[in-house]
């Protein structure tokens, strides 16, 4: 396939899933004629009709609640949350129902729901439009949480997310929506696996979503200074691909986790704990975290200073190597 944007990779993935399975329906605000505020569902209502691409009332609890009902009736709803900061009204349905219904019913009921969330900052938006709230869902037992970072994964992972009978929170790095990439012939491994995007020997950078690109750039810059950084795209936050993470960190002995979310109880905390528990003697330095500060997402004129960038990643690498 020719190069396409990450956003369009999702569009084509949704289209493929909808063609394959008539039970796949999309629900969300403005996803019909408008094609969503990021145009990810553009053209789909025209082709699949209003019964399958549903412009819902403006109520996130209602969207998730009715999606649950449709799933109980045998549908496979793919829900679009317009922006990260608007998922909270649906929080109850996600954590108390979507995540738990299968366990509650002893497996009689499945919840093949995909919750698409464009997330993260860096696009100069007003408040509530730049949140990274993945840790809430990753902490919630019963959900799978995945994040794509490029067009290829976007295209294939959305299809994998739709195919699994488990509920998936699917994060899309909104500031990378317009980045182009090749889409290959099939997915790189099953949902739940990480991917080493760049091999290295000195320090492992663990990232996902928007920070993958930043880490790759940092690794590039580091190389020019003679440092060899390995970059792992986690892709799945719950479950984490422990094996891939441990393998890399055992090799390098050092790890820096990078994300936009606040560090306190962010993914970096779990990864640090996990790596320390399972690879204690391999560590030459503590797992370090480079992330958003522990403040509400600032006004956009400050976001460059809030968000990790190449320099802050390299600073983290320096601190790791200083041990």
């Amino acid at each position: 396939m020719a190069a396409t944007t990450l956003a369009k990779g999702i569009t084509s993935g949704l289209r493929a899933s909808m063609e394959r399975d008539p039970k796949v329906v999309l629900l969300g605000e403005d996803i019909g004629k408008l094609g969503g505020v990021f145009r990810v569902t553009e053209g789909l209502q025209k082709d699949f009709g209003e019964d399958r691409v549903i412009d819902t009332p403006l109520a996130e609890a209602g969207i998730l609640g009715t999606a649950i009902g449709m799933a109980l009736r045998g549908y496979r709803p793919v829900v679009e949350i317009q922006f990260d900061g608007f998922v909270y009204p649906a929080f109850d349905h996600i954590v108390s129902q979507v995540a738990k219904l299968r366990a509650r019913s002893l497996g009689y009921v499945t919840m093949p729901i995909v919750i698409r969330i464009p997330f993260g900052g860096g696009i100069g938006a007003v408040e509530h439009h730049s949140e990274s709230n993945e840790a809430y869902f990753a902490h919630t037992a019963g959900l799978r949480v995945v994040v794509c970072s490029n067009a290829h994964d976007a295209h294939w992972m959305i299809q994998q997310a739709i195919e699994t009978d488990d509920p998936v929170v699917f994060y899309e790095p909104k500031r990378r929506y317009w980045d182009k990439g090749e889409v290959g012939d099939g997915p790189d491994g099953p949902l739940g696996t990480a991917r080493v995007l760049r091999e290295g020997t000195d320090v492992t950078l663990l990232a996902y979503g928007p920070m993958v690109k930043t880490c790759l750039q940092a690794a590039q810059a580091a190389e020019e200074e003679g440092r060899s950084l390995e970059v792992v795209d986690l892709r799945s936050l719950s479950p984490l691909d422990d094996e891939a993470i441990l393998e890399s960190v055992q090799k390098t002995g050092r790890a820096v986790v990078v994300h936009e979310a606040s560090t306190f109880l962010g993914m970096g905390a779990e990864i640090s704990a996990l790596v320390t528990e399972r690879a204690f003697y391999h560590l030459e330095a503590p797992v370090l975290r480079v992330g958003g500060y522990n403040v509400p997402y600032p006004p956009s004129r400050l976001e460059e200073e809030f968000l990790p960038d190449l320099d802050r990643v390299l600073d983290g690498v320096d601190r790791s190597l200083a041990y």
Partner: protein, 397 residues
């Protein structure tokens, strides 16, 4: 304000007089008011109703006796469950005492293909759907969180999060529409969904959102609110200023209040609403005006917040008594029938008790078994660790 927008407002209790906006709601005697559909009064006398007479007159004596049997058996089941809780066999029980007619009347109006979304108190509806009553005890005994297959009898799991199920019901109904199972005229295909919830639940945003979605989509769902006057310790007037059946109109579909202690009226009104839904006429909101005769649950102590005089008033409106009286005076049932039901009811009590006591405890590893449909490394690792830990622990003993 102009008159055209301020028609007489009512208090939550349906006493149909003009209330100035300045008056704060107060606690009147709970009277359903003149708009309440009633076919059988508390004395067991049939009240004529032009719209609903035909339906109930069309019920055979056997069907009518069936209603009675349901009412008695489900009350007996409920009593047994309460006793089991008192004896420590259940952790908790939410009694339906007083609400039997609301549940049996609506439950019997459902067709097999219809789907019901209960709260935690719809034991009578479960009974009508054919769910094994022992299954209802599992959650309260702590051996599972429900544990029946919802699709076997088209009866969803109990939902404890107040109001959430109204959205699930609406979404389910949206699925029914997409399946083309509305308005075909095929009695076995056209499908309605019914969502049960309480008076307190109407305050939850979820319930209003369900009314929005159902209205906009014209979905085949009936919102069945059992107004038992109390949400734990809070009376109706803490939840709403208007009668609940008024709620629906502002969302674009009809609301109706029915005497929830009158099994015939509930049956007729619910059947009409379900028929409307199945035939593509969209949602209806039914307020079944009833009373929670017991405590909220076995953990509750209503003496803290309500006066027994109120309970006494409602005792005279008992749903079973009036129906029995009517069956008797109209010669539809005789003492033998009533004796037979009593006998059956004792048997049910005994069998429920015995089967409750023999419900097996789940094994520890079961908590890992049903979380995900597909392989999940954390489940696998923790399950293994759990087993190793318990094995080593046993060994060490």
């Amino acid at each position: 304000m102009s008159d055209n927008d301020v028609a007489p407002l009512e208090t939550a209790f349906g006493v149909d007089h003009h209330v100035s906006r300045a008056e704060a709601p107060e606690r009147p005697a709970q009277d359903g008011g003149p708009d309440m559909v009633q076919l059988l009064n508390p004395e067991g006398e049939r009240v004529a109703h032009p719209e609903h007479d035909a339906v109930v007159d069309g019920l055979s004596d056997e069907e009518l006796r069936g209603f009675y049997r349901d009412l008695v058996l489900i009350r007996r089941f409920d009593t047994e469950a309460t006793a089991l809780q008192r004896q420590g066999e259940l952790g908790l029980w939410a009694s339906l005492l007083g609400q039997e007619a609301a549940q049996v009347g609506s439950g019997r109006a459902l067709r097999p293909q219809d789907y019901a979304f209960p709260t935690y108190r719809e034991h009578g509806v479960a009974w009508c759907r054919g769910v094994d009553p022992v299954n209802l005890l599992g959650m309260f005994r702590g051996v599972n969180h429900g544990g029946w297959d919802p699709n076997e009898k088209n009866f969803h799991l109990y939902t404890i999060i107040i109001g959430a199920q109204t959205l699930h019901a609406t979404g389910y109904a949206m699925g029914v529409q997409r399946d083309g199972n509305v308005g075909t005229g095929d009695e076995e295909r056209d499908t309605a969904v019914i969502a049960y919830f309480g008076d307190g639940a109407t305050s939850q945003g979820d319930v209003s959102e369900a009314l929005v979605f159902a209205g906009v989509n014209n979905s085949p769902v009936v919102f069945f609110c059992q107004n038992n006057q109390w949400a734990i310790s809070e009376p109706n007037e803490k939840q709403t200023r208007a009668p609940l059946w008024h709620r629906a109109r502002g969302f674009g579909f009809p609301g109706i209040r029915v005497d929830g202690n009158d099994v015939l009226a509930v049956y007729a009104v619910t059947k009409a609403a379900l028929d409307a839904a199945r035939s593509g006429q969209g949602p209806t909101f039914i307020e079944a005006f009833t009373y929670r005769m017991g405590a909220h649950t076995t953990s509750d102590d209503p003496s803290k917040y309500r006066v027994s005089a109120e309970v006494e008033v409602w005792k005279h409106r008992d749903p079973i008594e009036r129906f029995r009286r009517w069956l008797t005076t109209t010669g539809r049932a005789d003492p033998d029938f009533f004796d037979a039901v009593d006998g059956e009811s004792d048997e049910l009590g005994a069998s429920v008790r015995q089967r409750c006591l023999s419900m097996p405890d789940p094994g520890g590893t079961e908590m890992f078994d049903h979380v995900f449909a597909e392989r999940h490394p954390v489940m696998e690792r923790e399950r293994a660790e759990f087993e190793t830990y318990h094995a080593s622990f046993e060994a060490a003993r």
